[in-house]
Symmetry: D2
Subunit: 199 residues, 4 copies
């Protein structure tokens, strides 16, 4: 599958279309909620911080079309997968940036949207830099799979210049057929938070 | 807001953008999962069966753009809201069809996707008609807020000509600020099922 | 730990107190809901059908004290664990019955409560036998981790002689510390159903 | 129903057995998890802080039997319900204490268990006092329906003298029959946290 092979007008590429490693990827149903809450527009510049396997980056690249997605990641194994997935989906507008977000963000062009999927314990610094990269009315989206990130985000995004802060928890259970039984299989819940940069 | 005022490349119109009555509407986060699982393409013909307030119909109308959405609904109160929301969003490609799906579907042009949000106890008949309206490779999506629809769908969509049947349960909890407290407020869980029409 | 070493007045033995194999056991939080819905009294005779590792059986044995628990199980590996856990907890009022419930239930003394955690595809037969073993006002409890058992239970327990049928879905997420992060880890959701035998 | 009329060996009094006001009460399934995590023993002294309608207090009174439960509550409306429910269930070992926990706790006798269902923004003070009231090996249990209490508890219970800190989120969905349909109705999720007082 490549860019021309995702023929649908919504995100939601099935998980197994991505080349995966040991790192758990953001699952289809959760991914579409994160992307939805990010309020993407065509031609925008997006950062995907802690891009991991690249699932959000690739969906975002397809959605913004002539826009650009910067996928920031520091983990070598994740970077390998990120490159493979970029190639697989043929998304030329996806630029992979190697390094700690807190260090490399400064060098990137201004952004319209910042999606933070992993912050490596540097959420405060990343949000501080995000203020400078975004202009009034732009959105930041943070997803949290830990109570640490949840708690920190509640404090940081509840402050100026962040506005219209909202939080949802998404729990997905998939029905999986095992030996003719339809088993209920829970995915881990995730908190998705978004806020708008105020004036 | 009208068609030209939803500037984003994903669905996910906030709930309070819709004109609402007493009928509960399909909430933003669940709506995007239903739309995602429906695998919509531009220019397609979509049926939204049991359209209710019209949230899915309107999002689908915006997504398929030059395609057409037939919103089938029988409840007078819901129909009033459906017309108001169509007008509010200025979606000319949304056609409201009054009546029982099992009776009016036959008269509609062939469909590429059928999304069933309400079946009024006639799921079997609606799926029977859906077989005729869809061609090989097309998708049907059923959402269930009751164990009745869940159970019936599991049987009906597990049979020929339906293939690639999948089921997910989505539970969304929103964080709502009440008197400076961030309360966890659960939305009712919903099962989203989809299947492809086989040959 | 043995019978005299669970000093608390509620059930809820931590999972890791049980000797475990590959079979997933019913987790503490779900177990207490199943036991609660079973409305156990001292001195009662309880069947635990599909007893598995024996977590429900052991908790029930401690709760009914001078009553008796019959743990019915057919899987050899589970039976080994069941015996080991019986020994570990020193519950003399727990009687392990080897075999298919549909075959061995008939030979057991009358029951006051029947808890069905696994039915091996024979739920209908087991509930049929349960009617004969229980008297008016007694309870049956069924837990379901599959949509199959859920669907079948909805039909079977919705009929005479079953009354006061109720269903709840329990989803538990545990916070687990991994490398100083508090990760959200979902357990699979489970449906717990209970009904009273009518006249 | 009174003390002698709850004939079961587990907690789990159905919600509608309690006299209820506008304040939402802790639901049966969640209540049993809170009580379970509190590791109650017969003859113990329990505080139920922010007792509300008294559901936890009454269940605890029945469980500890010859022990004593102090139900601390400041809201006049809740206090009225608390008195009514005490009377209804005939629990003589339940002592209702009117006032702010942070102020009245000091005057109470030493406790074996402290269950905090509401803290009125004074969780820190209440936990500080709890340290003095509990001895080594005793448990405190905090339930949180807000991200505020969740976040604060994570910090406070993660410190000395608190040990063996654990957190679970419980989400319950009830199946409710409405016009012959079995509707899925979510209760709001709740976080239940417990910790042991260290040396």
């Amino acid at each position: 599958m490549n860019k021309n092979e995702w023929p649908y007008v919504t995100p939601g590429i099935p998980d197994d279309n991505f080349i995966q490693g040991k790192t758990p990827l953001t699952r289809e149903e959760v991914r579409v909620v994160i992307l939805t809450k990010s309020r993407l527009k065509r031609n925008q510049v997006i950062y995907d911080i802690g891009a991991g396997t690249g699932t959000i980056s690739i969906e975002a690249s397809l959605l913004v079309a002539e826009g650009t997605v910067y996928a920031v990641e520091k983990d070598p194994e994740a970077l390998t997968l990120l490159h493979k997935n970029k190639e697989k989906f043929g998304v030329d507008n996806l630029i992979i940036v190697e390094g700690n977000a807190a260090e490399v963000m400064e060098g990137l062009p201004a952004a319209d949207r910042i999606i933070i999927g992993g912050s490596g314990g540097k959420l405060k610094e990343i949000l501080e830099l995000s203020k400078d990269k975004l202009k009034k009315g732009d959105y930041v989206t943070v997803s949290a799979v830990t109570l640490d990130t949840l708690g920190e985000s509640q404090i940081l995004l509840g402050q100026q210049p962040w506005e219209s802060f909202q939080t949802v928890q998404i729990s997905v259970t998939r029905v999986v057929e095992i030996a003719e039984y339809k088993m209920l299989r829970a995915l881990n819940p995730i908190y998705v938070m978004s806020a708008k940069r105020g004036g």
